[in-house]
């Protein structure tokens, strides 16, 4: 029996990170889950508003949670780390601050229902670890990823602040454990929880290029062939900003950056056309061919 799970896509997974969404759907399907796009979802605002004196930036994420409740569901799945963080933090906030929840409900007075804090926000990595289990993941592998060494990059938003973290905030292992279940070798990336530069990629390419240079070089020194991520902004910064990293640091060597779902789909035996490698700035295909995986 297929389990339909309400899924909040967010804007980027319908645009430049379509390959993340497509491969996540394939992977979920292997375990009989169907990602069911949330009805009338709206952009969550990407970044969680940190001000205490104004709830306006929390309305967009809470409205999405209200949609989940409206269709009679109890949880919502996210893929993008930023969506996950924004929705889960807003949820945590209104659960703790009932007075602010009332204000937000008052702002959403045109809705047919009110929000009450009842929805759970989960990330695909949690579903894989806690509900499906990495043993099942291991059993589903048709093409073990032996021959490649993977660095897992978490960034900020799956882990901070602690009340929304999907794993140990300073020493997470969920992505490494997942990669081992796929048969890959893993390394412990020392900068795996350090920010990639985030939205500074708009006004300060140079700053982000230097972060990219640092993260990729640390991964290389530790012996990695590629880096995985779960955030379309991390992906853009670590992949596309390698161009500027190379201009600023002549010794820089390119490294492919993949969504963890792309490697899962590869290990589960899906064909190359379905893995969405075309939009990558640093093409992962030569490496995967060389290691006999494509």
């Amino acid at each position: 029996m297929t389990v339909k799970i309400p899924y909040y896509p967010g804007c980027t997974l319908k645009a430049t990170a379509k390959n993340f969404e497509d491969t996540a759907r394939l992977v979920a399907g292997v375990f009989d889950y169907e990602l069911d796009d949330l009805y009338r979802w709206n952009c969550c605002g990407a970044v969680y508003g940190l001000s205490e004196d104004n709830v306006m930036h929390k309305v967009a994420p809470v409205r999405n949670l209200l949609r989940v409740k409206e269709v009679g569901e109890k949880r919502v799945l996210t893929l993008c780390s930023m969506c996950f963080n924004t929705l889960k933090r807003a949820n945590y906030y209104v659960r703790k601050n009932k007075d602010k929840l009332e204000v937000i409900n008052a702002i959403m007075y045109l809705e047919n229902t009110t929000y009450d804090g009842s929805v759970e926000v989960i990330h695909l990595l949690e579903l894989l670890r806690d509900e499906i289990g990495f043993d099942k993941v291991k059993k589903a592998v048709k093409k073990p990823l032996s021959g490649i060494t993977v660095a897992s990059y978490y960034g900020c938003l799956l882990l901070r602040p602690n009340e929304i973290a999907i794993d140990n905030m300073e020493q997470p292992t969920v992505m490494e454990d997942l990669m081992e279940a796929l048969g890959a070798s893993v390394i412990d990336l020392n900068v795996k929880t350090e920010c990639c530069g985030a939205y500074q990629t708009v006004p300060r390419k140079d700053l982000v290029a230097d972060r990219t240079n640092l993260i990729v070089e640390e991964a290389r020194k530790a012996g990695a062939d590629l880096i995985i991520t779960s955030c379309p902004l991390c992906h853009f910064n670590l992949d596309r900003r390698q161009k500027e990293a190379k201009e600023r640091h002549p010794d820089f060597h390119p490294m492919p950056i993949l969504y963890f779902t792309q490697l899962m789909a590869l290990a589960f035996g899906f064909e190359e056309e379905k893995l969405g490698f075309k939009p990558h700035y640093v093409d992962p295909r030569p490496l995967l061919k060389e290691r006999g995986l494509l």
């Binding site: 990170a17 001000s51 350090e194 708009v202 853009f236």
Partner: protein, 134 residues
Amino acid sequence: MGVLKLTREKVQNVDLINRISGQNVYDCYQCGRCTSGCPSADEMDIVPSQTMKFLQIGEVDRVVESNTPWVCLACLICSVRCPKGIDIAAIMEALRLVKLRNNYDFVHPNRIPQEDLEELPPIALVSAFRKMTP
């Protein structure tokens, strides 16, 4: 160097930062942990722990006019590591907001080059506008 003077106006400015951020800048005891983990500290005119000190002595203008809040990444490393439980990232946000609420654009949507607009993902633009436009 003169004697440190905390005028009423300066105290009111600090109160504003505390109110917007929901934090108390006077809690900071200058351990420096926020700065040691900050990935942007090298880019900052005034590093995070110094920012806290300037706020405590009422020098709000000085930090508001520095580049510090505008090279902050809102990555929350400082906030989760502060032994006093201060959400320094929220203070950085308050420092941005005092300008943004006066209609200041740090990023000008109409001045982003066309070739950048074509390749930047929505998530980059939405988050940059949220943090750096009114």
